[in-house]
Subunit: 185 residues, 2 copies
């Protein structure tokens, strides 16, 4: 479904959000804007388009979307639970998505609705947890092994900046796909 | 020059920075981290690599780097001076970079040092100006025509998120280039 003009306008004004402390509000606003642009970038894609790999590209749009949700989950464990879940049983279903198929199975055959629903569900949990923390917590270092050099503010910024980076890739992947299959006249 | 481990570690802890108010500090920290990753993504590229366009890609890495600096300049005028400079004489040298050659000349033949020096100089001016503003200002709407729906916080977030998006593209462009020209054994 296209994103409404009012939703864009609202997203272009970062500031306090109900239920969040001031710095977390801005972070959540940035994450929200990033997600709107991801949704816009993938709107209307078929399973075939989500799985396509034009020459020169090694990850499909579907793989990139699943990777975004897997990243959110990885950082939920590291940030909120102080654990590195990469090798944990509960994370096993996401390792293929996280590693783009270098470990586990690469993502393939999933519908856009399915991929977006997973992104929404994962993000809802992130937001629920962020609402329970405050700006002082943002400045604390993570305790999970392998994540203990970063603070909480950077950790969630990173989840967002990784999404933005892959959204940029999705935009050119989609352009490359359009070049391969000109619309029927 | 490779980025030192200590510089990465410092960049992974967002928080107060000397000379900036609290929210501007975090924004500047994010912009700084984004720039480190851009520098890392382009390290050591030749003019030929900066100008290369593998099949399926329409903007070269050099074009993307010049676009980042042009975006910073466009938002300096909009944010700090309240003017839309796109058609102004002082912005004419950057229109080709900003529009990826749709208007003006596409960027070509520039060295990495030259492109990075422009990014540094432009960003230094942005930081100088941000240091003269405060967190209340961040929440105000821009007044420049065409930019007046966004607030200052979003404007500078957007400059950063656009860089992150293009950095993601640079990463896959560089991978695609490596596939085209296998290293000599």
């Amino acid at each position: 479904m296209p994103i409404e003009a009012a939703e864009w306008q609202d997203a272009c004004r970062l500031g306090p959000r109900p239920g969040f402390t001031p710095q977390i509000s801005v972070l959540v606003g940035m994450m929200h804007y990033a997600r709107l642009t991801t949704r816009e970038a993938v709107e209307g894609l078929s399973v075939q388009e989500l799985d396509a790999l034009p020459p020169g590209f090694s990850n499909s749009i579907g793989m990139l979307l699943a990777h975004m949700a897997a990243t959110d989950r990885l950082y939920q464990a590291a940030s909120f639970e102080g654990r590195s879940c990469f090798e944990a049983d509960d994370y096993a279903p996401y390792v293929g998505a996280m590693t783009f198929g270098w470990k586990g199975e690469p993502v393939r055959g999933r519908t856009l609705d399915d991929l977006l629903a997973e992104l929404d569900a994962t993000r809802a949990e992130t937001l629920r947890q962020l609402a329970e923390h405050d700006d002082d917590w943002l400045t604390t270092l993570l305790t999970a092994p392998g994540f203990d050099d970063m603070n909480q503010h950077w950790a969630w910024f990173h989840v967002m900046e990784d999404e933005l980076s892959h959204r940029g890739q999705i935009r050119i992947l989609r352009k490359a796909l359009a070049l391969q299959t000109p619309p029927v006249s």
